[in-house]
Symmetry: C2
Subunit: 459 residues, 2 copies
């Protein structure tokens, strides 16, 4: 039966691509309130595909952008698989760095000589969601899926899945499953398909420093009037020491150290620091002393500034002291850091370093803990065989430095673990201009998703 399903998938490459172009042309940017109607339209698009696959589909309200929930007819005794993904995408800015517009999906050759589709969301996560939709559709065309399936596609992953936690709690029974499958990670490298066994957590905050009640002339007032940016840069600089360690008190208290076994296994992976630097165009990587770049990205916590806005940003000079300055700052967490504890420690650190003359406000843009898949999870060998069917090569076990906020909620509320079976490549420019998804990866992803249903049906 799986062979028939795979034959169908192999024969639909053009249709799959056409569907993906349609999906990618919807600017479902969850962070921007102006795109709220587009997010809703995108939810309907996903719902329509799943209806076409003969699932029972609901668009469900969350208080934010809606979720799509779809099921086949659940048969007692069969394992239940929850497929989770997201239809929302990161903001496309800076727009001028896109070779072709972010929401006009275009197929062209990659620097590596492969063919890829370029658009915001190509791989994160619309392309990978489509792999599952295509696998489901093919199975349904051949007599039905071999598992009980629940599909949950949300619209707020890129803004911290703010409403999904409550949604999962409220629909605990409807979402009950034995395992969750997520395709929102990537392969280790071209030719190195992978299963991701851990993701980092996230504490994403905004600091707003308010000074004078209006913008001031920096000549007439400078020297006496508090400058919110002078304060902001000192506060931000105080978050890290010269060795790249985060200085927020207690930040490292609960960090689980990398084991010698992990260090050894990771060092065997084909990762070259010179190639990594060359790819990024930098003459050095950063990070704490004693850790490789790979270890730093997978298993050490970080503090990165993601945005700053202040004063005059146009061409030339304006001699102004701005009324306020703000920065978006995020911490990536590792097991077992508690995001709430880290957030509060950050607030306390900033407040205790703030001088007179300004006031400080915070905006919380979401928190999520790190997550590790139990090493003995029975889904891991099943996923491994599915990837071998899809990609023609057994996968490597890796970690991701990224965060998937909802996985800890699935663990807590549904009692299930997640299998991260990702089809992208590290050079897909996720969250950056010219995001892409290689067409071969798209196809192998569809095949893997189809094979995974067969593998999971066994047990």
């Amino acid at each position: 039966m799986l062979n028939d399903v795979l034959t169908t998938i192999d024969g639909r490459r053009d249709q799959t691509l056409a569907l993906l172009k349609d999906f990618l042309s919807i600017p479902s940017v969850s962070a921007n309130p102006a795109n709220a109607p587009d997010c809703r339209r995108c939810a309907h698009w996903v719902a329509d595909q799943l209806k076409f696959a003969m699932l029972d589909v609901s668009i469900m309200e969350t208080g934010g952008h809606p979720c799509v929930v779809a099921k086949n007819k659940h048969v007692p005794g069969r394992p239940t698989v929850l497929v989770y993904g997201h239809y929302d995408v990161q903001p496309p800015e800076p727009l001028d760095l896109w070779t072709t517009p972010a929401f006009e999906p275009t197929v062209r050759e990659t620097p590596a000589g492969t063919q890829a589709i370029y658009a915001r969301g190509a791989v994160d996560d619309k392309g990978q969601v489509l792999c599952h939709i295509e696998a489901i559709t093919a199975w349904q065309a051949h007599g039905g899926l071999p598992v009980n399936l629940t599909v949950l596609i949300e619209g707020e992953e890129e803004v911290g899945s703010a409403h999904l936690e409550q949604f999962v709690r409220q629909h605990r029974t409807a979402l009950k499953a034995d395992v969750c499958v997520i395709s929102d990670t990537n392969q280790f490298a071209r030719g190195y398909p992978a299963i991701t066994t851990g993701t980092r957590g996230l504490v994403y905050q905004e600091i707003i420093v308010k000074g004078p009640n209006r913008d001031l002339h920096s000549g007439l007032f400078g020297g006496a009037a508090p400058n919110p940016a002078n304060v902001l840069v000192a506060l931000l600089a105080s978050l890290r020491d010269e060795n790249g360690r985060v200085t927020v008190p207690g930040f490292y208290d609960d960090v689980v150290a990398i084991t010698p076994e992990e260090r050894t296994a990771w060092k065997l992976l084909p990762f070259s620091e010179p190639d990594y630097r060359k790819d990024l165009g930098v003459d050095a990587t950063i990070g704490e002393a004693g850790y490789t770049a790979q270890e730093q990205m997978w298993a050490r916590p970080t503090c990165d500034i993601n945005g700053i806005t202040y004063g005059y940003q146009g061409p030339g000079a304006k001699t102004v002291i701005g009324a306020q300055a703000s920065a978006k700052v995020s911490f990536r967490l590792v097991a077992n850091q508690d995001p709430i504890k880290i957030r509060e420690a950050f607030y306390h650190h900033i407040r205790s370093h703030s001088p007179a003359g300004v006031t400080i406000e915070f905006l919380d843009h979401g928190v999520a803990p790190a997550y590790l898949v139990p090493p003995n999870h029975p889904g891991l060998p099943a996923a491994s065989r599915a990837i071998e069917t899809g990609f023609g090569k057994a996968p490597t076990l890796i970690r991701s430095g990224g965060s998937i906020p909802i996985v800890s909620t699935f663990k807590k509320e549904l009692g299930i673990d997640c299998l991260f079976v990702g089809f992208g490549l590290p050079d897909d420019a996720v969250h950056s201009p010219n995001e892409k998804f290689d067409l071969d990866c798209l196809h192998a992803g569809c095949r893997t998703a189809a094979a995974l249903f067969a593998e999971l049906s066994r047990g």
Copy 2:
């Protein structure tokens, strides 16, 4: 004769206001290349007014925005007065904080209960330039000016008068004069007209920190990839110590200390630090230990950040490491700091603090030294009498924390000093949203400018 001129000015308040509205409606933002045609149009507007006053007028190219140069017929034996001003204005951003649009001049009541005209450039410097145009026009209507007059109105003061220095050097003979009059400063307070005897200098620079060759996902790359903003904030924070002193080596080496006499005189002025804080809406002022806010603004050098741009600045969260981060930074200088020496020390400080993994670039947005009027300059008593005629009250001697880049060039190239006779108020919101010029100040300014020609004609 002066009385007839003043009577004419008193009878023209409505026409003066109508002219100013016309002048202010031209968005002559010198910093923004998109406004270059507006700057040129504004030069023509000024030229037309001066032609109407029967002067010989030329619009002269500088390599940037043009200058307007106008003269009456110079008669041997009479003193020659150079009136300098600028028709360009600061950028109007942030636009949403303007009560009425920046380039739709509107008369309304001020918080102090007076009537004022609100627009970008109202007082800096279009309103004050118009005072001189009105005074010239009135004198010409009564048989001609009592002095040899040269008017020089430039279009690049707000961007550091980049081309004017060379222009003055090239037209040294044509611009030859005995004294320069500049109305681009303000009174000490409402009811306290003033002559400004010193301005601060300026070193305005932009730092660009370049990191990875593209924006990166802060989860997938964070911890190993250099973050240009993390570097930028550390560099900016390194420019000042905890006590508000600038840490660039050698920065204070040449600073002329405030004399005990100046300290005593300034303390007699009606300046209240609690009122100052209340006006700004802050709970504290800043500055070096041992200096009042007034001393800090008038006679101490500063380092202020004027703009920062980096990463994602929209609503919500984007987990990105930006490819570059940049900041506009300016130093206000006092006598006898050398702006070139300070600029080079700044470059050296930044470069020597820059870590591996990023590259640093600088953009120079202009430098100018501080300037002090010689205390025994014969123009000072003349200006004092003119202000008494215009405002009905003798002026105070004050300093300004602002900079007028060209004055040191006039000193060097033409051998003349400048009289700063300013008509604005400290609450005019110069360089800020809702810039204004009180109508009573506009009128008193026209009268003062008229009287000043009479006073200076006496030699």
